[in-house]
């Protein structure tokens, strides 16, 4: 498992670089690139993902109106924001013209709505891929990779990134697979190109991967879950004692109502505090790595 030392995208420079890569990947045009400032002209499909305006698109589609592509103006720090706002204001006519909307600059920082949407769009678009190493004709070792997050949760949670891959030739499992291949020169490929090289089915590979995930989770320290269970048992005992103490001297109807209330509260406590481990699969990929004799297959 990968222990990332520092969370990414916490600096303005990282966010700018991320946006440049994202908009280039989705086919947006960069119209203006100044220090910590960008203007991107975005395709309609990207526009729909980044800006929430379903009624506008319903109107566009119903009326078959041609639409001007949206230009996103993004400032990545305060200095860029004020500098570019001043520039845009200077370009505006002195007297306001009706219908001439003020052009708005979005300040991009971690947690801003637009940046969250950009991340969500990237996450959605980058969920599955098929890539290979080297040109056509080279001998490949096929891998099925899954990336995701293991969440350990009770009242509160902790998450860790995982990347496991299984070799379709021999069902060998490799941990931290993505970290080993992410800087390699990989290019888009057809799935059939990669699967041609495998002896095992995808179903077998996926079952093997799930087993690996279970083994991984089983190998972790359980103390957090044991502590959570102790707290939950204490809370349930307290709840139970409280309601038991109220049950005397009640009519049948009142008792039934109180018992129902207790059960509801017990269920809520269990939902809140039961320790759970969930493997969230976020990405999957078919990866063909060039065969390198004498080394662990392809990695």
């Amino acid at each position: 498992m990968n222990e990332q030392s520092r969370a990414p995208l916490r600096t303005a420079e990282e966010r700018l670089a991320f946006c440049d890569r994202y908009f280039a990947s989705v086919g947006a045009r960069t119209l203006v690139a100044r220090s910590m400032y960008r203007e991107y002209e975005v395709p309609i499909d990207v526009d729909k993902e980044l800006i929430e305006r379903p009624f506008y698109w319903m109107w566009v589609e119903a009326s078959r109106q041609p639409v001007e592509p949206t230009v996103l103006r993004l400032a990545f720090d305060d200095a860029a924001l004020s500098r570019e706002e001043a520039r845009l204001n200077a370009e505006l006519p002195a007297v306001g013209i009706p219908g001439f909307a003020k052009r708005r600059i979005e300040r991009i920082d971690f947690g801003s709505h637009l940046f969250d949407r950009i991340l969500a769009s990237a996450a959605q678009r980058g969920r599955a891929v098929c890539v290979r190493e080297g040109g056509e004709g080279s001998e490949l070792v096929p891998w099925l990779m899954v990336n995701g997050i293991v969440s350990y949760s009770a009242d509160i949670n902790r998450e860790e990134w995982f990347s496991y891959a299984v070799c379709l030739e021999n069902l060998q499992i490799v941990d931290r697979f993505y970290e080993r291949i992410r800087h390699r020169d990989l290019s888009g490929a057809r799935a059939s190109e990669i699967l041609n090289h495998g002896r095992h089915t995808l179903r077998e590979a996926w079952i093997t991967l799930q087993e690996a995930l279970r083994n991984h989770v089983a190998a972790q320290d359980d103390r957090w879950a044991e502590e959570a269970m102790i707290r939950l048992r204490d809370d349930l005992a307290q709840l139970s004692a409280y309601y038991e103490s109220l049950l005397d001297d009640l009519s049948e109807e009142e008792r039934a109502s109180l018992v129902q209330e207790r059960e509801r509260k017990q269920a809520a406590l269990i939902e809140k505090s039961t320790p759970r481990v969930v493997c969230h699969i976020h990405q999957t990929a078919l990866v063909g790595l060039r065969l390198q004799r004498g080394r662990l297959a392809g990695t």
Partner: protein, 572 residues
């Protein structure tokens, strides 16, 4: 291939359940196989960007406040610490009882954001007084970047996300059933002192909600009786303080005095966090509180005495007839505020009465009150306005007093706007805006004052005193709060030789009970010497025969409490 996914797998003796969720790997691979084209190079780039995005969103530890990286401001240290304690130690069920103005909203917002960021909350309900729905929604959106929506109709309850709603709407049909039917990952209740009575619909709807986490926000978890604390904590963690009888036996000496304050404090610290200014939670500018004695004019005095005499006889009559004394208490409170306010109640009584003698007496009182040529409190206010050139907020409990003040200020060409609970949200925002930009005086009634922030003003006149010390504290908290940069000057107008004069003592008593359990309040009342206490108790006993509740409260004050000033020092 999918059969294992989404299904909790048996984990034998392990103390957790395990499941695989998220992407449907089978479908994704099928799609790749049948796509009929090769992945583009850009797809690999997007794959790598997606991995970065998931890393960026990850919650790498149990005890780190991730929300801080997602919000658009820097919270104060005590707010961060509180949010962390709620999440880490109190496990998401807590009373946030900071003194007014220390940022309970910020703390609650941080906790909510933390759970949202961690993916532990998807559907949350924020219940607030109707007047604060807009303010909360705006603050959650702007400060915390939480896409909260105000509740608009029955459909809203069933939507995911964060819903801000009025508790009065939530408890009413047809909404109540819908609210009860939902599963709420988190429930936040602002002004939670309104949940102090388990027989109210407010408390009952909260008790019936299905929820994981719950935050109750109130600066005043105890207002009148210790059992209110039990009621509130039982909503969060039933049994934490035992059942009502166990609580009374273990912790209650008398309704307003704890038996073992240290043990009670210790027990409630597991569900409650209270930050106080004096602990260094926040360096706010000083507040200067002074009592301004007001001498009634001869005509007002005659009217006051006549109303007191009427009240005494009416009280006797009510007692014999076993009828409600509530209208009499209201009249008593109104006459403390202004003769003008009392006139309205007298007129209502006149309309209702069928007794000719009583009608004659009421008519006579109304004529006497209406003929008063000048009002001492109003004159005091005008003088104070002359002395202090800045913006001033004047608080009164009564609409009639508010109207009269507005009328008087207008006649003197002093710019003023009213503010009250009955205003619609938009009008409240507009009045506040006018006061901040153009207008010198804001005349607010109690209900209108709840929750509004007026840090740009630092002078306050309490035209009358609420009989609840926490409401007095809430009034002061409108200006003496985060964002205030100037020393605050607060004046309580107290009419000499009236029951109002004794209210300060009652307030002090209640404050002491609150302090014993929860922690000390600020100096919201001036220190009172022992001789004053004795004289006032005597006067109260003489004058309060028609104020049963008032008498009981004074009687329950312990002698040792009277001897002690705040901080445990004996008076000179």
């Amino acid at each position: 291939m999918r059969e294992l996914a989404d299904e909790t797998i048996r984990t034998g003796e392990r103390p957790w359940s395990f499941s695989v969720r998220g992407l449907d790997v089978e479908s994704e691979l099928e799609a790749l196989l049948h796509m009929g084209r090769e992945s583009r190079d850009a797809d690999w780039e997007l794959f790598r960007l997606a991995a970065i995005a998931h890393h960026a969103w990850m919650s790498p530890s149990f005890d780190q406040l991730l929300a801080l990286e997602h919000v658009q401001f820097t919270p104060l240290p005590h707010q961060v610490e509180t949010a962390l304690r709620v999440v880490r130690d109190l496990r998401g069920r807590a009373i946030l009882a900071d003194e007014v103005g220390l940022g309970k909203t910020i703390e609650a917002g941080l906790v909510l954001k933390e759970y949202l960021v961690r993916g532990l909350v998807r559907k949350a309900l924020v219940l607030v007084p109707a007047s604060l729905v807009s303010q909360w929604t705006k603050e959650l959106n702007q400060k915390f970047r939480i896409q909260a929506i105000p509740q608009r109709d029955e459909w809203t309850w069933t939507t995911d996300g964060v819903i801000v709603a009025s508790i009065d709407t939530a408890k009413r049909p047809p909404h109540a059933d819908l609210v009860r039917d939902q599963w709420w990952d988190m429930v936040i209740v602002d002004e939670a002192h309104k949940l102090k009575n388990p027989r109210t619909k407010n408390w009952q709807i909260l008790n019936q909600l299905q929820h994981k986490y719950m935050l109750l926000l109130t600066a005043t978890p105890v207002q009148n009786q210790l059992k209110e604390l039990h009621t509130l904590i039982t909503l969060l963690k039933p049994g934490q303080l035992g059942n009502p009888a166990e609580f009374a036996e273990r912790f209650v000496a008398n309704p307003r005095t704890p038996k073992d304050p240290a043990a009670l404090r210790q027990t409630i610290s597991r569900v409650m966090i209270r930050n106080r200014r004096e602990d260094g939670a926040l360096e706010l500018p000083k507040r200067h509180v002074r009592i301004v004695p007001v001498e009634l004019t001869p005509e007002e005095r005659a009217f006051y005495d006549a109303v007191q005499a009427f009240l005494r006889s009416e009280f006797e009559r009510s007692r014999m007839a076993r009828t409600s004394i509530l209208p009499l208490i209201t009249l008593q409170r109104e006459i403390c505020s202004s003769a003008y306010a009392a006139l309205l109640s007298l007129e209502k009584m006149l309309k209702k009465t069928t007794d000719p003698d009583r009608a004659r007496r009421l008519q006579s009182l109304i004529e006497q009150g209406a003929s008063i040529p000048s009002y001492a409190k109003v004159e005091s206010v005008l003088k104070m306005l002359d002395d202090a050139p800045d913006k001033i907020i004047i608080f009164t409990e009564y609409r009639a007093s508010q109207d009269f003040l507005m009328y008087t200020l207008k006649r003197r060409s002093i710019s003023a706007v009213p503010f009250r609970g009955g205003f619609r949200r938009g009008k409240k925002d507009w009045m506040r805006e006018l006061f901040s930009k153009k207008i010198r005086v804001l005349v607010a009634t109690e209900s209108g004052g709840e929750g509004i922030n007026l840090q740009f003003c630092h002078h306050m006149i309490n035209y009358d005193l609420p009989w609840n010390p926490m409401r007095l504290e809430q009034r002061i908290g409108r200006i003496h709060r985060l964002g205030q940069t100037e020393a605050c000057h607060i004046a309580h107008l107290v009419t000499k030789d009236t029951i109002e004069e004794h209210i300060m003592e009652v307030l002090q008593d209640k404050v002491r009970m609150f302090e014993a359990v929860i922690g000390r309040l600020d100096d919201i009342v001036s220190d009172i010497r022992l001789d004053l206490w004795e004289r006032r108790i005597f006067e109260a006993a003489m004058t309060s025969r028609d104020e049963r509740e008032f008498v009981n409260r004074l009687k329950s004050v312990q002698m040792e409490d009277l001897m002690l000033q705040k901080g445990g020092r004996h008076p000179r």
